[in-house]
């Protein structure tokens, strides 16, 4: 078993309005960051897990995202994975 650190990013699907992102965009414009075109606000998770291989860890994370971390009706997700430490 190896330890993995996953970084999971959940964000609204492009077809879904994101009032929080729009409000942040307005704020950035007011601060003078006039070049900002789009802000989409989402969620970020760091997950430590153990798995027999990177592939198994990825499968587990995919399930976690689909079952709980993201609502597939309105959200999309992606994650990256790094080996954190060796167990044993």
């Amino acid at each position: 078993m190896s330890g993995f650190l996953a970084r999971v990013y959940v964000s609204p699907r492009p077809s879904v309005r994101d009032p929080e992102g729009s409000t942040i965009l307005d704020g950035l414009h007011q601060l003078g960051f006039g070049t900002v075109e789009i802000v989409r606000a989402g969620k970020y998770f760091e997950i430590l897990l153990e798995a027999g291989s990177g592939q198994i860890a990825e499968e587990q994370l995919d399930l976690m995202c689909r079952k709980l971390l993201a609502n597939p009706v309105v959200e999309q997700y992606r994650f990256d994975l790094q080996v954190e430490s060796s167990v044993e």
Binding site: V16, R17, P19, E20, T23, K43, L68, L69, N71, V73, V74
Partner: protein, 220 residues
């Protein structure tokens, strides 16, 4: 008639809901979320409002994994009435008993105010065209439809005092001014009918929803 009221940690409208059910002559039964016995003793089930599990992650996202939820799903599959009010509606959407999603209000504000709703579909004997004055109190009531599944019946739409469905009368940015939907025997609505069951509370229109639920039970 016995109506089960599901109580999650953070639910806070169960007593008002129980009172509303008593007021239409039925017996409420509070059911804690860890219960795993079948709900066969109930004639209907209500998921009341509140903030189950503190709305962690998304409203209703954690509550849907409660031990009692498979029983609620079975109960709904058996064709008996299930009603979700506000946070209960959010739980029904998260668990898939109702399609779509409830997003953050477009104003980003928690909206607690009186609204008018127009009945749109004859669910449980509700009369289309009937106007209800009900309170809302939510931060995530912005209904978003799921285009990949069959459309639910729209049961309630936000409207103005004259029954006109206008953007101004929509408190949360909900698609098509949707305030409530149903999928057969499962009904979800954002307004709180249990908070509008006497003149002292400002409206009696909420009783109409609970009377409809009881009528449905009598008819069954």
């Amino acid at each position: 008639m016995k109506v089960g009221i599901i109580v999650f940690p953070g639910t806070n409208c169960e007593r008002d809901t129980a009172r509303a059910i008593e007021a239409v002559g039925s017996q409420p039964r509070l059911l804690w979320h860890t219960a795993t016995e079948p709900l066969s003793g109930c004639d209907a089930v209500v998921l009341p409002g509140g903030f189950a599990h503190g709305d962690a992650l998304r409203a209703g996202a954690i509550a849907r994994f409660s031990p009692i939820m498979p029983r609620v799903m079975e109960f709904a599959d058996s064709g008996r009435p299930v009603m979700g009010i506000c946070n209960g509606f959010q739980v029904l959407v998260e668990c898939g008993l109702l399609p779509g999603a409830l997003l953050r209000n477009d104003s980003l504000q928690f909206r607690a105010e009186w609204v008018h709703c127009r009945v749109e579909a004859p669910v449980w004997g509700l009369q289309p065209g009937a106007m209800l004055r009900l309170p809302v109190a939510h931060g995530m009531g912005n209904y978003f439809p799921d285009a990949s599944v069959p459309k639910p019946d729209v049961v309630l739409r936000y409207c103005d005092a004259h029954g006109r469905v206008t953007p101004q009368s929509n408190p949360n940015g909900s698609f098509d001014n949707i305030a409530g939907i149903s999928n057969g025997n499962v009904l979800g609505l954002m307004p709180h009918p249990e908070r509008a069951i006497s003149d002292v509370l400002g409206s009696v229109d909420g009783s109409y929803v609970f009377q409809a639920l009881v009528r449905e039970l009598v008819a069954a």
